[in-house]
Symmetry: C2
Subunit: 77 residues, 2 copies
């Protein structure tokens, strides 16, 4: 199975919740991408269907938008 | 570890994504509650901090609101 990818932008409010989710799925099964720092990954995230962060893209290609941290447009800004 | 609880209201759009998440966490680690059918669980969900469904309440008590299906108020409707 390919990994899930967790896109985030360092939203401090969500850190605890994010770690919880990653622990549930298993650290080894998730690639974590901070699009605020790795801005080159923003296009990749958008192509995957990510509209806001934090979001989890599952191996099946489903996008789960979790809570609401920031829109992709805001991260670009 | 206690189980996570996944609250939903049968949102058809989200079914595939929900199943994905549940598969990632592991079916045995998640209790699934359909608050549209089990309306007696609505108060329990609200007490846990659930504002909208689908949502996952983790064993640590964090609430992850996933995408946006319906507000709790709408389910009460």
């Amino acid at each position: 199975m390919s990994k899930s990818i967790f896109y985030h932008a360092g939203c401090p409010v969500c850190v605890s919740a994010e770690h919880d989710l990653i622990n549930l799925i298993g650290n080894d099964n998730v690639q974590i991408v901070h699009i605020g720092e790795e801005t080159s990954k923003i296009a990749e995230a958008e192509n995957a269907g990510v509209k806001s962060v934090p979001a989890l893209v599952t191996p099946n290609g489903n996008v789960l938008h979790i809570n609401f941290g920031a829109s992709i447009e805001d991260v670009k800004g």
